[in-house]
Amino acid sequence: MTAAVFYLLGASAIASALLCITRKNPVSSALWLVSTMFALAGIYVLLHAQFIAVFQVLVYAGAVMVLFLFVIMLLNLGREASDVRGKPAWALAAAVMVILGAQFFAVWHYTPAQMASEQHSGAAVADPLAFFPNNALAAEAARPDDAFGALSASLFQNYLVPFEITSVLLLVAAIGAVVLAKRRI
C-alpha cells in the first residue's frame, strides 16, 4: 500500500519538476516547484520523517517559495522571450543527464547488503542493518509515538554546536540581504 502511494507521489514530483524547469513564465515555474515540494513532503511522511515533512512544508514551501514569488512580482518580469539557451546547451544538458543518470544508476546497486559485505571484504553479512552501529537509534525512531523526542534529543545534544552556527548563519544572511537589496543605507 505504501509503495503505491510512494510511486504516485514520486511521479507527481517528477512531473511538476519537469514542468517547473520548462515553463517560460517564472511565476508558473515557481508554483510548479511548490507542488514538487508538497509531493516530497508526502514522501517524507512515508519515510517515517514526519517532522521533516512538516518542516518542509512550513519553511521550504511556505517561506522560501513565497520569497521567490515576492521577488518575481517585485521585478515584474512577466513573459520573457524564451530564455532557454540555444541548441548546444540542450545537447550538453542531455549529455549531462545521461551521464548523471548512469552514475546514479551505478550508485543504486549499492544496497546496504552490498555496502556491508564490501566493508567485510566480500563476506556476506547475515543482517546488513545490524552492521550499522547507530541503527538502534533508527529502530527506536520508527516507533510512532515520540518520533519527535529522539530527533529533538539528538538535535540539541549531539548537534548543538552546528545548530547554533546555523542560527548565526541565518542572522548574517538576513543582514546581507538587507544591505544588498536596500537602495540607500
Partner: protein, 98 residues
C-alpha cells in the same frame, strides 16, 4: 523501507534540477532549480536516515537553513544587479571576466 526507489527519485530530481540550471538563462529560475536540487539531496538524506539513524534528518535541517539563507542573499544580489542592469538574463552579466 523504501530506500531504493527513494534514492532513484532523488537522482532523477537532481538531474532535472541540473538540467534546469543548464538550460535557463533567467537568474531567478536558476535559483529555483538549485532549490530543486537541494530538495533532491534532502530526499536522499531522509531516505538513508532510515538506515543510518537520525543524523540524516538533522542534516536536512541544516540543508534547509542554508538553502534559505542562500536564497535570501541570492535574491538580494539579483535585486541589486537588476537595479543596475534592468535585466536578469545571465548572458550579459559577465563583469567578473578574467
Amino acid at each position: 523501507m523504501l530506500l531504493g526507489p527513494a534514492l532513484a527519485l532523488s537522482a532523477i530530481l537532481f538531474s532535472i534540477g541540473v538540467a534546469g540550471v543548464l538550460l535557463r538563462r533567467n537568474a531567478i529560475v536558476l535559483f529555483m532549480c538549485i532549490e530543486l536540487m537541494l530538495n533532491a539531496v534532502n530526499l536522499s538524506f531522509v531516505a538513508l536516515a532510515q538506515v543510518h539513524g537520525l543524523g540524516g534528518q538533522i542534516m536536512v535541517f541544516f540543508v534547509m537553513t542554508v538553502a534559505a539563507a542562500e536564497a535570501a542573499v541570492g535574491l538580494a544580489i539579483i535585486l541589486a544587479i537588476f537595479r543596475h542592469t534592468q535585466s536578469v538574463d545571465l548572458q550579459n552579466i559577465n563583469v567578473l571576466q578574467g
